[in-house]
Symmetry: C2
Subunit: 336 residues, 2 copies
């Protein structure tokens, strides 16, 4: 008899969720009702935004309830269907949660994965929300022009590495900020950054001055904190700052103090915009089509860091924030 292992939220964290905020429960396989279908999850995603999803403070989504299955993007295969729009064998990506199986009526499906020639796992990374976030954040909010200097924080990450490569495809000079020599090498060698700065190696302001002699035209920010303070001090006139994530800040309750940005925003006539990729849901297919074409042409590369087994889920968010992964962190499920 098949069962459904689920990772449920056990306690609400203040800050980054740790392994003991979750527990793994063995539940019965769900029934498939009329106009429903059963998804077997093949890959579960782990992403920085999950911190926000379990946070009690005001946010852009209802917090996951205590005792509920952890919300996540997952990619899987339809294994049974009573729904006219989904057939057995269809590959789907959506909000199926950290569990083996999910019943769906289609409303939590982000998209059917039609790129049959490419691995399903990409639908959670470079062809998933990470790639789409990079695409719309950089192009629609960052508005890069050829010759612009584009700085990316968490430059080797799933979003950042795509931002850097897309900026390069747009004719920009790209500067990646990341932690440690392995990731800076990855930035230069795999993701084509013109310069890579190791924020753990010392004077980030001096490194930025050297890498951005004409200032920073676009800053794609995944970190906030001291890294952002250094970048904001070196904006060019008319700079665009895209706030995509705040990975370096452990807790926003209350917000930590930092140097006020208003004067720099004013003097540089800069623009700081918050990015939520869900606002672009009506345009996902446009982005995925373009990203997939770049992947097929070998112009957009990616790294995956896949671990096997649902038992890796509880600690996975904290590991992500410690920067332990090299590439998009996915959990691959091993089904009996």
């Amino acid at each position: 008899m098949r069962v459904n292992r689920q990772v449920r939220l056990r306690a609400r964290p203040n800050g980054i969720p740790q392994a003991d905020h979750f527990e793994i429960i063995v539940a019965p396989l769900p029934e498939v009702g009329d106009r429903q279908f059963l998804i077997r999850n093949d890959y579960l995603s782990v992403e920085p935004a999950m911190r926000g999803w379990v946070s009690a403070i005001a946010n852009y989504s209802t917090p996951v309830g205590i005792g509920e299955v952890m919300r996540s993007f997952s990619a899987g295969t339809v294994v049974a269907s009573r729904h006219p729009g989904f057939a057995e064998g269809d590959r789907v990506m959506g909000m199926f949660g950290w569990q083996d199986y999910a019943v769906s009526d289609g409303s939590n499906v982000t998209r059917k994965v039609m790129e049959a020639d490419l691995p399903l796992s990409l639908s959670l990374g470079v062809l998933g929300l990470n790639g789409v976030t990079a695409y719309f954040g950089l192009l629609d909010l960052g508005m890069p022009r050829p010759g612009d200097t584009v700085v990316v924080s968490t430059a080797a990450g799933a979003v950042g590495s795509a931002v850097g490569q897309i900026a390069k495809l747009m004719g920009c000079r790209t500067v990646g900020i990341t932690g440690g020599p392995v990731k800076t090498a990855l930035c230069r060698e795999a993701f084509g950054y013109d310069a890579a700065i190791d924020y753990k190696a010392g004077d980030i302001a001096a490194a930025l001055r050297e890498a951005c002699p004409r200032g920073v035209d676009v800053y794609f920010d995944n970190t906030s904190g001291a890294i952002s303070d250094a970048v904001l001090a070196q904006l060019a006139i008319g700079a665009r700052i895209v706030i995509c994530g705040t990975a370096s800040v452990a807790s926003w309750d209350p917000p930590p103090m930092g140097p006020r940005v208003e004067r720099q925003i004013l003097v540089k006539r800069a623009r700081m915009s918050g990015l939520l990729v869900f606002d672009f849901a009506h345009r996902y297919e446009e982005a995925v089509a373009r990203l997939a074409a770049w992947v097929r042409e070998g112009r957009l590369t990616y790294r995956e860091d896949i671990v096997d087994g649902i038992e890796h889920c509880p600690a996975a968010i904290a590991e992500l924030y410690r920067g332990e992964n090299l590439g998009k962190r996915l959990i691959r499920l091993v089904h009996a």
Copy 2:
């Protein structure tokens, strides 16, 4: 024999310039060369931006040099001309400095004042940079939609009062933040704000919650500091923040600390933009024409606070930052 009194910068302030940073010098009347003309200044402007113009730290204009005439907008009359484009009797507004007379080749003229039916002084206020700043800052960066809640800091000031009224003309709900009962009454009664908040009267967060039950869609900010912190905590989804000035911060060297804004910008998908009105120089006439029409129709009102005599210049910037003026502060020159 006519002379030229000039207010010169004597010492460089760190922060808000005080009376003793200036001195008044009596200079000879300047010669009018070929393709030049002589302007008799009738009104000298005083504005918050002057703090930046004398600051040594990086800014959007070259600092006024020690011993130089204080940079200012002035409005005056051409009293002698050897320039084909300017005739005796023309009324002009531009960067003529804090002095009785200025020789010009036309390059420092912002505009000829063609609204012969309206007082010349308006060319330094509601039909000058203040009005134009309000116009482009609100409409182009703030992008108000009918029904939006628009919050304005220094709401009774020369810029703020125009912002509030233009927002009202656009069909918005307007909330002004200002200091003291006289100015809040002015906001409600003269400038038509739906609500006026006295930031000196106590709990600004509670007052904002009451005045903005659906959150803040547009924040036109002239203050920075604690007032902005309170407004930013109550943004609506998709809010636009226009940074026009930072009047409440005495010194930016180094920048003071405040609560980090990144998370709120991200979660609310807000946009914070810096406004420098000079970036809109090619569109001034569009703004002035529309503002003048509103003034003539009685739909846009203004307050002027005019003092007579150049000897009021040295202390005028500090007085402005203490909020002592009620309306646009101008110095009217009394010529011998």
